[in-house]
Symmetry: C2
Subunit: 431 residues, 2 copies
Amino acid sequence: MQVKALPGFREFYPEETALRNHIFSAWRTVAARYAFEEYDGPPLEPLELYTQKSGNEIVGQLYEFTDKGERRVALRPEMTPTLARMVAAQAQALKKPIRWFAIPQLFRYERQQRGRLREHFQLNMDVIGEPGPLADAEVIAAAIDIQRTLGLTAADVRVRVSDRRVLQCLLLNAGVAEADLAATYGAVDKIERAPRIEEIVAEALVHTASPGPVAARVLEIARLRDRGSLERVLSATRGGPEAAEGLFSCLDALQAMGLGEFLEVDLSIVRGLAYYTGIVFELFDAQRTLRAICGGGRYDGLLKALGGVDLPAVGFGMGDVVLGELLKSRPVGGAPPRMLDAFLVAVTMEDQGAVLALAHALRDQGLSVEFALKEQAVARQLKIAASRTAQRAVVIGPEERKQGVVVVRDMGTGTEERVALASVADHLAGT
Amino acid sequence: MQVKALPGFREFYPEETALRNHIFSAWRTVAARYAFEEYDGPPLEPLELYTQKSGNEIVGQLYEFTDKGERRVALRPEMTPTLARMVAAQAQALKKPIRWFAIPQLFRYERQQRGRLREHFQLNMDVIGEPGPLADAEVIAAAIDIQRTLGLTAADVRVRVSDRRVLQCLLLNAGVAEADLAATYGAVDKIERAPRIEEIVAEALVHTASPGPVAARVLEIARLRDRGSLERVLSATRGGPEAAEGLFSCLDALQAMGLGEFLEVDLSIVRGLAYYTGIVFELFDAQRTLRAICGGGRYDGLLKALGGVDLPAVGFGMGDVVLGELLKSRPVGGAPPRMLDAFLVAVTMEDQGAVLALAHALRDQGLSVEFALKEQAVARQLKIAASRTAQRAVVIGPEERKQGVVVVRDMGTGTEERVALASVADHLAGT
């Protein structure tokens, strides 16, 4: 009787693990180039860590329970509260700005989402302790360079950048009441999905005398898509140029890095989370057939609100699922194929000692080596070698041992050559 | 108000993560050389997956709960049941022998063990589908080569190898009743820890007329420590030479690989688990001051018993905790130091665009690069460069930009040289 995996949890066979490791490797490679250091925290945390940030409503979406020590605990649904605690605990000792990343597995139990995943891996990359636009540019550039490292171009992916400060300034000037701002953000967030968006925005404007015309202006703002138009609107708005300094400095920095072609200004990118205070951005596939690959922004008040230190911060989360789907749909493809450098073949049982010694010597040189784990005919061993997609078979028989050589067979072409035992490693590594 | 991490769960700051990644990297490097493929499974599984193998007693040691869908679930305490299910589901398609490894985080809630860890990471490496001693030798060799890759030698670590078939043969011939075998294994397992071990062994021999003399013979067997003595005892035992064929073939293979100096024969290595059927082994620090680094063996009946396919298997688990302690105690040490190839310095605000462009170009070449995220004096930027342990500072001012050069300052020696902008990457990578 087989016990199946839980719904929403993935099993990773070698092929899927290879794709996952390919993505993780791109994450770690780019993080190292950007001088970010890796951290990690517990996958199980006190439930309170999440309710103090998100309120009790989040409990319904968590894997949470009471442990044997009567503690209320939850599988982590996000990394930021753990990050906030770890930074707070070492706030004095850590050199600022803190440049950290992590690759946690995250868990959500959402009852209604049948068939959807309840776990995923997510790269979290954050700069903590620096309020300026260059920090924003750093994390956005890293998010883009991950795509480039995976072989994706501006034809495949695009970053849509907004800024809470800019949106707030324009909305207030458009006639939105301060008390309606949060609701208006929420309405603007639905611009791409909801029918009758004008009505939805107008409904958010409960403190406005004439919501209809204001809603129209709000939507005009949310539909601005190029920097030129945005600059014109801002220059005609009280406080507009000042509100946009951070956004434009960030975009200028990304332009200077040569990443301009990936960027789109899009003030409708709100992101549901109430704690963003500046830049917000999302990375999408250019055809917009998938969900967001990555989302983030600046959250200058959050670390303090989480009971930590008062440090400004900017960062993003990038999941493995959408990125994996995108890679599988593109010719750049997934993981590089598995490589077996050599399959060693013993002609007789007496040659097995020589095979073992050579296998170990080659492995010590870093080569990937396999051999038959029981006595088998040479033809059968060569068949296994082929099924393992070995690049070469290395055959050792009594005659070869006497002469101190091996026969190296190219499994692609079938050509064979005799190579001195002492130089097999160089021979295999060199070609 | 800070919410602390749960007792028994680790936070990994960058330094600890670097050590962990250093260990993971050795695991993956050696696994690749041995042509093992990585897999993974869910960290949360149906509780039944573990009770069907270990009985209901295990529930008291697990993080288990009822999820929102009324499923009884548990955080995985071990990987083998997941492995058995995954292999069974694809048993026809998978090429045998299956050579797989995984690096799961595992969880145990043991109420009495205050102050002890309740999670750890564990390398699981298994060969499935091959009953012969070369498969045993492969996994033991891989376990040893992981130590060697981490800089440890036979002066640091040793593998103690036993074989259930040998021990069973010798115990039966020594007068242990078949019905007392399991209890006797359990008693022998305590040989190093328990005082009055003779009495403990004698107490296990409930079906034996004269337990005293039999217990003495059992302890003689359990205290054999070299192959020569074992061979002499076996040659005088009915069925002894045949029972030891697998063990000696495995040891011979490891000898042929050049790993003989790591090996000790030790029949007192029993390992608590009832399901081992042949070779069993444990890897220890040579001074025996720490717990086992790794333990494993052959478990030919287990996959079938877990409701899977009837395939022989051999493998081991190696945790990150003891290995990390050992590495920290040795001069070979932990992780290689973090490397920042260059810290870029802008002399004036006008040089920032050039810094950003160069930073991105260098990162595209694979170099690790950082720069100040706000306007600061050159001296202050050089100070940050030093605190980040940058190998070099690369200074760009108005004069340099005009001439198309940069000043490369060696942070160790303080020497400076002018390098053409176009060849900075080669210059930094080449030295």
